[in-house]
Amino acid sequence: MLTPERIFMIVGSLVVIVLQLFLAPYIRVFAAVPNFLVAFTLAVAVVRPTSFSCILPFVLGLVFDFVGGGPVGAMAFTLTLVSTLASRLFQHVDNDSLFMAFAVMAASALLVEALYAVFILVLGSSVSFVDAFAYRVLPCFVYNVVISFIAYPIVARFARPRGALRAELTQLR
């Protein structure tokens, strides 16, 4: 059934793909290129932890692999694994505070970049892990965290399950 949340997820996915293709290369800060797909996926994983499907990160990761020029399958694997872990972790540590959501997103963003770096190095890049961490993982992690923090309220506004909103309202009353 095509619920408003589902429509938002589909439209949101298309939007972040367009942003990644046509905006991300031009707003790089030094070597850091933002990854809108990662930010969106992690925000969804935290906003909808109980109903998060691993299809979304797999598809978006695969899109990134094909348009980004990196090893095909690397981001699909990384994003699927980390975002699923994030959603499951958030179910256990969620205390209705914004801090916990942001902490889980930040930790997940770092894990995504680190795992992707491992993929790049294992698949034959000649750089050292220290260099990779200093010049790619950390800058990209910081950039992605900032974007995911910006994306979170938007995703929470449109993708949060109605049941959760009702429960929150009831709790507030």
């Binding site: 619920t3 949340e5 589902r6 997820m9 589909i10 990644q20 293709l21 046509f22 991300a24 290369p25 031009y26 790089r28 030094f30 070597a31 850091a32 290129v33 990854n35 909808r48 109980t50 109903s51 998060f52 499907s53 691993c54 299809i55 979304l56 797999f58 598809v59 695969l62 990134f64 692999d65 094909f66 348009v67 980004g68 020029g69 990196g70 090893p71 095909v72 399958g73 690397a74 699909a76 694997f77 699927t80 699923t84 499951r88 770096a117 790049i120 698949l123 034959g124 890049s125 000649s126 750089v127 260099d131 990779a132 200093a134 010049y135 790619r136 800058p139 990209c140 399950p161 049941g163």
Partner: protein
């Protein structure tokens, strides 16, 4: 079901199985990608998709320009010059036209720079527009709007208006991906122009170019010009890469040799894909450096090339293009016999001794 939006209290077995399946598929794709060659199905699909997105980007730019033009025409048709608001609109239009004219003027300047470079270095190639840049921080590449249909093939050298930028890594029908020299996995066989010492220029994650594999007794000095040596056949010979800006500790030979590239892809909108370079700058006998795998494979690759002209000139001491042009005017041209493997292998001086090359004729 592409997106599972249903509320559930936990993760069912089905979800876990699906997760495991997707992870296995991802790993399998990565393994296949890592093991297949550049012509493999995944590489080909990736190249096609990157090319298509590059074309979309260029079409998008065209649509944007057309929209602006249509908007301007519509504004022209509806403007009322007798009113103040009409004059303001006209003023805005003129400003827009001025901006467009300035855009064209800058493009003409850039193209003129490329044309000058072509004339100076004597390269033959096609001018391409940069239509896309990498969306991945790990991949230092650009997408250009020329492909196999225009004669661009994988491995061709790509230049900006003043120096080497990189190499075509993938070529689709109408687009190509250019791996930049600054990419950590990029490498070019080069030589120091003054000493003829061979080496390898490599990119790095920090964005600098490093000169490696240079013999300790032939370390370059700050300011030395670095040109491609043509060894290995991956890059055309005699094209300027940049100049040395740091040699570390020159007395001990310890430290990194850092190259300042002559050209950067950051702001470039047009490039030249070199289809043939007349070896504008000479390569003499290879020095005893360059012991890497690249130069190990170079000898065999060299033997098949340089069957045309070899252009000799003096030592170019500046990266300035005008200086290079002046040097070329004073140059000597030689006709080199074809299929003389040793000529390329051992260098021109030895070739003269052996009599493989004709005596130089001025002009």
């Amino acid at each position: 079901m592409p997106f599972n939006m249903q509320q559930s209290s936990g993760f069912s077995l089905t979800r876990n199985v699906l997760l495991a399946a997707l992870l296995v598929i991802s790993l399998a794709l990565a393994a296949v990608y890592g093991n297949e060659g550049a012509d493999g199905p995944l590489h080909s699909a990736q190249s096609g998709i990157m090319g298509a997105t590059g074309q979309v980007a260029s079409v998008g730019a065209g649509v944007g320009a057309a929209t602006e033009t249509a908007g301007g025409a519509l504004s022209d048709a509806t403007a009322n010059p007798t009113t103040l608001s009409g004059l303001r609109e006209q003023n805005e239009e003129l400003r827009q036209l001025l901006a467009e004219a300035e855009e064209y003027r800058q493009e003409v300047d850039r193209l003129r720079g490329l044309l000058d470079m072509k004339q100076v270095s004597g390269v033959t190639g096609v001018v391409a527009h940069v239509v896309g840049r990498s969306t991945n921080a790990w991949d230092q590449s650009i997408t250009i709007d020329m492909g196999t249909a225009e004669g661009v093939v994988s491995g061709m050298t790509v230049m900006g208006s003043t120096g080497v930028l990189g190499q075509v890594s993938r070529a689709a029908e109408h687009t190509s991906t250019v791996r930049l020299l600054t990419d950590p996995d990029s490498g070019a066989a080069v030589m120091v122009q003054s000493s003829r010492a061979n080496g390898i220029v490599r990119g790095s994650l920090n964005g600098l170019l490093y000169l490696e594999d240079v013999a300790e007794d032939q370390l370059p000095a700050v300011g030395d010009v670095i040109v491609t040596s043509g060894l290995g056949g991956s890059y055309e010979r005699g094209l300027i890469v940049g100049s040395v800006v740091s040699v570390g500790d020159a007395t001990t030979g310890v430290g990194d040799i850092i190259i300042n590239p002559n050209d950067s892809a950051e702001m470039l909108e047009e490039v030249i894909v070199v289809q043939k370079a007349p070896n504008a700058l000479p390569s003499a006998a290879p020095a005893n450096g360059a012991s890497s795998a690249a130069s190990a494979s170079d000898a065999s690759a060299q033997t098949g090339q340089d069957d045309s002209q070899v252009t000799l000139d003096g030592q170019v001491t500046s990266t300035d293009v005008a200086a290079v042009e002046q040097q070329r005017d004073e140059s000597w041209r030689y006709e080199q016999p074809a299929a003389e493997d040793e000529v390329a292998e051992e260098g021109l001086e030895e070739a003269y001794d052996e009599g493989y090359v004709e005596e130089p004729v001025e002009g």
